[in-house]
């Protein structure tokens, strides 16, 4: 047992750190740290900077244009990116769709879509959830009826993050109307500008626009936009989930947030005194630090097992619960830090902001935004059902 990364990996870390310090767009880091709303151009510029370095499609193998990193290298990269305060990539095309495409797509499909993802010229959205389906994806009803060389799609997708930035949307749709549950579902890519597609914004409780509803009204899509076999879409989508074990961890982000909190707390007490000397705040901070360390070492344990192929496959549920609850613990501490400053709307700049780059409004917004963590990607309740069944062998 040891906790040291190899000399190679440590060297890699220095390279990554150096890149974010010197070569990554500084104005984007500044905008992230000011808690501003990011627009599409920000994401595109950030992603294209990473693409230029060959560091955009971090989980892709070399043959498809990825850096071909080990799981450890990828962990190090993610951690450094977040500690540097750079912008996370939009995961839809890069993390979710890309691997499905190069694993199950045809040669022609790969040639058509991979390059646009790799150079961040094409943005993708994920059309899985539906109104009324929630975390129970197998009950989805959006349908694609085969009509000659085309599918005709009707139905709704919802909670589609960044669909307002997207050029394409990959969808799970029911191609066999007689089917129920997991079968008869196909994986189909739709040009989001096709006639009959409507993207309707949904504003979140933090006041921001992250989510959308996407309506399909007789949308005609050529059959060559289907990935793999008809009726197997559910399995393609599932295949990938097991491979994304640590994508929820965000250890670097948590460390960066804790550092911000501690820095701001030094002058956040009465009359600018240190809140770190307040025993109740200090004990909450200590508990949160324990939670972040626990997340870090649990993530590393899973990475270590993955390296030698020993990961039993349920880590994604365990880590999803741990990581999202840790994120919520950190942003709840932010709320505590902000105190009365947290009452204000985003537009208002108050002392916490002036002093330490963490305004009260940012704290409240982060806290509210993080409520989604235990909901998306399968609620905590569903992850617990999975662990009960698959890890502990309990049947309902």
């Amino acid at each position: 047992m040891d906790l040291n990364f190899s000399a190679e990996d440590e060297l890699f870390r220095l390279q990554v750190r150096d890149y974010f310090k010197n070569d990554y767009p500084k104005d984007i880091i500044a905008k992230v740290s000011a808690g501003k709303s990011m627009v599409k151009a920000d994401y595109q510029r950030s992603e294209q900077a990473l693409a230029k370095k060959g560091w955009l499609a971090v989980n892709w193998p070399k043959e498809h244009g990825g850096p071909g990193w080990s799981v450890v290298q990828r962990y190090i990269f993610d951690e450094e990116l977040e500690i540097a305060g750079a912008l996370n990539v939009i995961p839809m095309g890069l993390l979710y769709f890309g691997p499905v495409l190069y694993t199950f797509g045809s040669e022609a499909q790969r040639e058509r879509w991979l390059p646009g993802i790799l150079n961040s010229t094409t943005f993708w959205a994920q059309g899985y959830s539906e109104p009324g389906a929630g975390s129970d994806l197998a009950s989805l009803t959006c349908r694609a009826d085969r009509q000659g060389d085309e599918y005709c799609i009707n139905g709704s997708k919802i909670w589609t993050s960044y669909a307002h930035f997207a050029d394409w949307i990959f969808c799970l749709v029911r191609t066999d109307p007689a089917s129920t549950r997991h079968d008869g579902i196909s994986f189909i890519c739709v040009d989001i500008r096709s006639p009959g597609v409507e993207v309707i914004p949904i504003r979140s409780i933090d006041g921001e626009h992250h989510l959308n509803r996407v309506e399909f009204n007789n949308v005609r899509v050529p059959i060559e936009n289907r990935i793999g076999d008809e009726g197997k879409g559910w399995h393609y989508a599932q295949y990938l989930l097991g491979h994304e074990r640590t994508s929820y961890a965000h250890v670097g982000a948590r460390k960066a947030e804790l550092a911000l909190i501690k820095n701001a707390a030094r002058t956040a007490g009465v009359g600018g005194s240190s809140l770190l000397k307040d025993p109740l705040f200090a004990s909450k901070l200590a508990r949160t630090e324990i939670a972040v360390k626990t997340l870090e070492y649990t993530t590393l344990r899973i990475l270590s097992a993955t390296q030698v192929g020993a990961a039993p496959g349920n880590e994604s549920s365990i880590l999803k619960i741990l990581a999202t609850e840790c994120a919520q613990a950190v942003s709840t501490l932010m709320l505590e830090l902000a105190g009365a400053d947290g009452l204000t709307e985003k537009a208002v700049s108050l002392p916490l902001s002036e002093r330490q780059g963490l305004s009260g409004a940012m704290c409240t917004e982060k806290y509210l935004f993080d409520r989604a963590q235990t909901i998306y990607g399968g609620t905590t309740e569903i992850q617990k059902n999975v662990i009960a069944k698959q890890v502990l062998g309990l049947r309902s």
Binding site: G134, A340, T364
Partner: protein
């Protein structure tokens, strides 16, 4: 020993309940505020706890609680809290002999009750972290009376009010308990600047900057001894605020149940899952716990019981924590729907979060419980 509402209180509750249902949740707009003030004045609510000689009803903290629970149930935002706080301060200042002179205070109170004058109260400062004794805003004696300098933050309805009550230090250091005074001024007083904004739950707030604001001597309603008066007024406001919270919590609970009754997951209603059922029970229990402490705190305030302050501090701890728990769970149980801005659930949740923070959050009041018990 009884916890029953009087027949007048039941009438008040029912009429508030009807009004709130007709109104719907308040939108975030100053126009809405203005029309609410007029309705509240007509219904006699603005003067609910004020004496009859000012046109009020002479009601008790329990009456205020009954009204506020219904306002909270429907997420009817202000203007009541501002009136309650200012009213309590003005009433207390009348006791002070100097201030009573000329009947300024009682005619102001009458105008507030009738809805003709709106008033806001500026006690807190940005770095006070809920400590009322932290007053770095300074009032110096000058030839005309006083010159005020400093900044007050988080002033509810600050930009909408005709008149402002402001605390400032006339003696002592930043954190001294004594030497704090209370001033009344017109919003148009030269040197007073207002920076209006909204709180994250949609209440109009403002930051007040005072730059060599010159006030006549009579503008000082309470001289040097304002701290206990401010504390006592806030005790009463906490009862009202907690009642609003309880109303909001119960709406959250029952609307979440209703939502989960309608939704299916994996072939079952969401309410059929035992883990969800037990969560609802925990939420229900939290409401009952708040109700118990709320009733006790209100009654003790009416009875001027020696432990009234302690029970009120306990109530504020419970309200802060239970409110956040109810809000977080309601969002979680609504799933992604709960995360959207449009649904009432998110707005009630944000209201409960704001209530935790207003007048001192749970940790602040936990420290008061430690001191008081």
């Amino acid at each position: 020993m009884n916890f029953d509402l009087s027949s007048e209180q039941i009438m008040l509750r029912d009429s508030a309940n009807r009004y709130v249902k007709e109104c719907g949740a308040s939108p975030k707009s100053t126009d809405a505020e203005v029309s609410l003030i007029q309705d509240f004045a007509k219904l006699g609510w603005l003067g609910l706890s004020l004496p009859e000689k000012c046109g009020g009803v002479g009601g008790s903290a329990i009456d205020v609680m009954v009204l506020c629970e219904e306002l909270g149930r429907g997420l009817l935002l202000e203007p009541y809290l501002s009136v309650l706080l200012a009213g309590e301060l003005l009433l207390a200042s009348e006791v002070d002999a100097k201030a009573a002179q000329g009947g300024v205070v009682s005619s102001l109170l009458a105008n507030i009750v009738s809805g003709n004058t709106s008033i806001a109260t500026a006690l807190y400062e940005a770095d006070s972290r809920f400590e009322l004794a932290r007053q770095s805003c300074v009032a110096q004696v000058c030839e005309q009376g006083y010159t005020l300098n400093g900044t007050k933050s988080f002033v509810l309805n600050g930009a909408q009010a005709d008149q402002l009550l402001i605390s400032a230090r006339t003696q002592g250091q930043f954190n001294d308990a004594s030497g704090i005074s209370l001033f009344l001024l017109d919003r148009k007083t030269p040197g007073l600047a207002l920076d209006p904004y909204y709180s994250f739950d949609g209440l109009p707030m403002a930051t007040l900057s005072l730059s060599n604001v010159v006030l006549r001597k009579e503008a000082c309603l309470v001289s040097n001894t304002a701290l206990p008066i401010m504390e006592a007024a806030i005790e009463k406001v906490i009862i009202a605020l907690s009642a609003q919270a309880l109303g909001a919590m119960e709406t959250l609970l029952y609307s979440s149940i209703e939502y989960c009754q309608l939704r299916q997951q994996f072939g079952k209603k969401i309410t059929q899952f035992q883990a969800v059922q037990h969560r609802f029970v925990d939420m229900y229990m939290a409401c009952e716990e708040v109700r118990s402490l709320l009733y006790a705190a209100a009654i003790k305030q009416v009875e001027s019981a020696p432990d009234a302050k302690l029970i009120t501090a306990m109530l504020k701890v419970k309200v802060g924590e239970a409110g956040r728990f109810l809000g977080e769970q309601s969002v979680q149980l609504h799933g992604a729907m709960g995360f959207t801005e449009d649904l009432l659930v998110g707005r009630l949740y944000k209201r409960l979060l704001a209530i935790d923070t207003l007048f001192g959050n749970a940790d602040y009041h936990l420290k008061r419980v430690i001191k008081l018990s």
